[in-house]
């Protein structure tokens, strides 16, 4: 990461400064109005989720509220079986993120710390793999899961199973993790590794005792980003699972949209609950989230 040195403000002609000031004020107001528009859809959904749908049907969307409360939330949790879906999400997301960080950092470690001929080729393989459209991959994966299931004698060995979804996330996102972590590891001085090797540390010790502790910052950023991505995944859990109550929350929302189409405000409450964990991540761990996103786009 480069640090920018703030250059002290140089004296400018007063007139220009004043004109610029006015212009900036305008820009600020304009962007501010736009920002309100930006947040509005979320605020409106939140507001509606606190009202019964019957009121809106009777009096229109702008009718003054008679009844306000979290009743839609209580009923969403209960009727939409949200706790089940949240449990599924946790069971998929946590192992997936753990494996992505572990396996991604292993490849990044070997590729940046030991010079083999095929280092760049390996990195290319993983990075390019991450960029392939998921649609290109899923037909054979789907068939492969069924085929392996038949071989093992249990159709739900990988298909319609949390592990099947976990593995595809790991396989795909590992590419991104490898890329990001290897760019970070290149900035760690080689001398650290050299002294470890001179001291006779095994490869195993070198990774777990020397490198891993140094990787904490990018692992934290990447972890937060991956949790959000996998939490938000809709596609894989939709195509690789068939049993509704095994699905994670985001994919389950798709079904709920159809089923609860008669009570939009209940659905709004469901959507808000589903959005809550990512919003918490946003407000509490924003630095890590942003760090993770930008680690991948700007090298160094």
């Amino acid at each position: 990461m480069t640090t920018t040195v703030k250059v002290p403000k140089l004296p400018k002609r007063k007139k220009r400064l004043y004109a610029q000031d006015i212009k900036d004020r305008f820009i600020s107001i304009f962007i501010g109005i736009f920002a309100v528009v930006w947040v509005f859809p979320i605020v409106w959904t939140l507001w509606s989720s606190l009202r019964p749908y019957s009121e809106i049907r009777a009096g229109g969307v702008f009718s003054p509220p008679q009844e306000l409360g979290v009743f839609n939330y209580a009923s969403a949790i209960d009727r939409m079986e949200l706790p089940t879906y949240f449990t599924n999400t946790v069971l998929i997301t946590l192992p997936a993120v753990f494996l992505i960080l572990l396996l991604g950092s292993l490849i990044a470690f070997v590729v940046t710390r030991y010079s083999f001929k095929f280092n760049v080729a390996m990195l290319l393989l993983f990075t390019a793999g991450n960029l392939l459209p998921p649609q290109l991959v899923f037909i054979p994966v789907f068939k492969l899961y069924l085929l392996l299931g038949d071989l093992v004698g249990d159709r739900r060995f990988l298909y319609d199973n949390h592990w099947g979804v976990i593995l595809i996330h790991v396989a795909f996102q590992m590419g991104f993790a490898t890329f990001v972590l290897s760019s970070y590891m290149k900035t760690i001085p080689k001398e650290i590794s050299e002294s470890a090797m001179v001291d006779g540390a095994s490869v195993f010790t070198h990774y777990f005792r020397v490198m891993l502790p140094l990787l904490r910052p990018p692992l934290a950023s990447l972890g937060v980003l991956m949790i959000t991505w996998i939490y938000n995944d809709f596609f894989w859990a939709l195509v690789l699972m068939s049993t509704d109550n095994k699905r994670p929350i985001t994919s389950a929302l798709g079904r709920l949209t159809g089923e609860f189409v008669t009570d939009y405000n209940l659905l709004a409450a469901g959507a808000m609950i589903a959005a809550l964990p990512t919003l918490i991540v946003f407000f509490v761990l924003r630095k890590q989230f942003v760090g993770g996103l930008t680690l991948g786009s700007t090298k160094g």
Binding site: T2, T4, K6, V7, L10, I27, S28, I31, A35, W38, V39, P41, I42, T45, V61, L103, L106, V110, S115, V120, M122, L124, L125, T127, G129, L131, L132, Q135, L136, V137, I139, P140, V141, K143, L147, L167, M174, E191, M197, S202, V203, F204, Y231, N232, F234, F235, L238, V239, T250, L253, T257, L267, A268, A275, T278, V281, F289, S297, T298, K299
Partner: protein, 307 residues
């Protein structure tokens, strides 16, 4: 770093490296082997298999059932499937809209926020908020505003019988989807660009201002060229995201084909008519369209390594 001390230690390491212990070799084998196996088995192998399968018919899952189809799946798509051309048109609109409208708006926002205008921290959070929401939640939220008894129709004062069907009416639906997609895309681009701008030397801009450049000139002639690597990444992301689009459209339209895009067609043709491998052919077309941006991205990210 002094050359004298660095050189011998480097040599020493090189010598040691040739004498890995047996245990180290096994460890390294596992370290590379497990991730590589998983990645190749579940990403590269299926990707290549899809390309092969797009020239076949295959029902069921037994390998014996595969029969050669030649170009039949592609012919079917190009000549007998009008919905493909609708999808292609929609994806093209998606790319153009993102490229000419959403992405520039994100860049503009980043530029202004980076100048630390009044309230920039708050604004940054506001624009970024939609990025953390899933596209599934985004679909529900916007459906909430746009359905017949929703906010927008209420604002227009239209009774339900005369309400505009924003998702159903072909005059509106693609543009409504574009606005929804931009809601998320603009914040994402803003963030990426903002990170890039932070790395641009502030002195460059100061110098341009002192030399009497207007703000627009400063951006166009100084900041924008200095941002070349980020610009490339942003363009590539814009195109790849537009081609891959799936979640939001699927949440609103399901498999109905009310708003055909390539990502949904692949899905429909595996889940629905499993008989042909038309879905695979769609996926290959999608892949061919994404090849140029993917290669551009890799070139940008790996140019230092290859040189």
């Amino acid at each position: 770093m002094s050359v004298e001390t660095a050189a011998p230690s480097g040599k020493q390491v090189a010598r040691r490296r040739r004498f890995f212990s047996r245990q180290d070799k096994i460890t390294l084998g596992f370290f590379i082997g497990i991730p590589t196996f998983l990645h190749v088995a579940l990403v590269w192998f299926p990707a290549i298999a899809t390309i092969g399968l797009s020239f076949t018919y295959w029902t069921g899952i037994r390998l014996e059932d595969i029969t050669w189809a030649g170009l039949a799946n592609y012919e079917n798509i190009f000549f007998n499937t009008p919905i493909f051309w609708d999808a292609l048109r929609n994806n093209t609109i998606w790319i153009l809209w993102f490229f000419f409208i959403a992405t520039p708006l994100g860049v503009l926002l980043a530029y202004q926020i980076d100048r630390e205008i009044r309230g920039h921290k708050l604004y940054q959070s506001a624009y970024f908020l939609p990025v953390v929401l899933s596209l599934a939640v985004t679909g529900i939220i916007w459906n909430f505003l746009l359905r017949p008894d929703g906010f927008v129709n209420g604002l227009l004062g239209l009774p339900i019988s005369e309400a505009i069907s924003f998702f159903g009416d072909e005059r509106y639906n693609i543009w409504v989807i574009m606005i929804m997609a931009s809601w998320r895309h603009i914040g994402y681009i803003m963030l990426l660009y903002l990170a890039g701008l932070k790395a641009v030397d502030g002195a460059l801009r100061e110098a341009a201002t002192i030399d009497g450049a207007t703000e627009w000139q400063t951006f166009r002639k100084v900041v924008f060229p200095a941002m070349k690597p980020v610009n490339i990444i942003v363009i590539v992301i814009t195109i790849i995201e537009s081609l891959r689009a799936f979640d939001m459209v699927y949440i609103i339209y399901g498999s109905s084909g009310g708003m055909p895009i390539l990502g949904v067609l692949v899905f429909n043709n595996i889940a629905g008519e499993g008989a042909s491998m038309k879905g695979a052919a769609y996926a290959v077309i999608l892949f061919l369209l994404s090849i140029v941006p993917i290669i551009t991205y890799l070139q940008q990210q790996f140019k230092d390594d290859v040189r």
